[in-house]
Assembly symmetry: C2
Homo-oligomer: 200 residues x 2
């Protein structure tokens, strides 16, 4: 054994420093982007301001767009958990509706607004977000398919997953996001009810 002093997390200095570098890069980038616009700030400038090499930036992030989505990016996990970790009394669709509601609230509240205005301002960021959502939908689809409760086909599950992320996407550029979520989920409710399986 090498260490007994660490209390709970056996993380070494190495990983701590790496995480610090990552956070420093992301924070610096977001600050610059919010200040002067996404397109007006280059990677070389972000690297210089964060006092790292350009290659270091790309060793931590897959691309420039990923720098923006660093902060709130547990969407995937939240979606999957909403589908799998729920009380036995709560059916699937209402659980998803609740989660999407929470996500939309989280995005349209207080400090998150400038970030989403930044995203909406750049086609590259919007495209990146969209492909992100596709991945999330696939994860959610896998979770739904694996759910016990009936002979639902993979295709139907993937469709429901897509509809769910569509609800989020649509709600996000609407005057009344909460109302939009409910409106779209009324449709999803009806679609889900039309499936020949148990209503979960």
């Amino acid at each position: 054994m090498t260490e007994q002093t660490a209390p709970a997390e056996p993380i070494g200095r190495r990983e701590r420093k790496k995480a610090a570098t990552r956070r420093k890069i992301a924070d610096t980038a977001l600050r610059l982007f919010l200040d002067r616009g996404y397109d007006a700030v280059g990677i070389r400038e972000v690297a210089a301001e964060a006092d790292v090499a350009v290659t270091t930036v790309f060793s931590h992030f897959a691309g420039k767009e990923a720098l923006v989505f660093e902060q709130d990016e547990d969407f995937e996990q939240r979606l999957v958990r909403a589908a799998t970790d729920r009380t036995p009394e709560e059916p699937l669709i209402p659980a998803l509706r609740r989660e999407i509601h929470a996500m939309v609230r989280h995005c349209t509240a207080d400090g998150a607004v400038p970030i989403w205005r930044l995203i909406d301002s750049s086609p590259a960021l919007r495209a990146y977000e969209e492909s992100m959502r596709l991945r999330h939908a696939e994860s959610l689809a896998a979770a739904i398919t694996a759910l016990p409760g009936g002979p639902r086909t993979p295709t139907a599950c993937r469709a429901i997953a897509r509809f769910t992320v569509d609800a989020f996407s649509l709600a996000r550029d609407t005057a009344d996001p909460a109302a939009a979520v409910d409106e779209v989920f009324d449709l999803i409710d009806a679609a889900w009810a039309a499936l020949p399986a148990l209503p979960a």
Copy 2:
């Protein structure tokens, strides 16, 4: 008047040459892409092979990805027409189902297959296709919203439009595309029926 000799189309030599250049670029690019892969062929090479300047390529196409989607790209028009130009007896959703069926058939048939395998092979092309589909969904949503027949909200119409393009997208990477289209459209049918308006 300047010319009476042209039989039907009053197109001059200029526009003909421009169209020829455009087609030559697109054909050359597609041939090279199919031959050696999308990422392995650069714009400079496409331009050289088509015997034009690089800037000419970008004056005809918005970007490298657009070169691939040149061939079949009237999807948007077909979708909108399926919603607006239909017999009074045919309801909206069945008309959309028919059109999506036709589109899927058109994409999975004969000569179109290599192109779609090319698209599936490149993340950049997949992302481009996805953002294309978002635009198409918006157009379709506008068409549906403008349809006579009831107090459907814009949000509900946008949702149905998204679901429709989702059906195409999902069906496209499925073993049995036609069956997938029907499966997803059964869901859309149920969702549409749940709307408080006349069932169109």
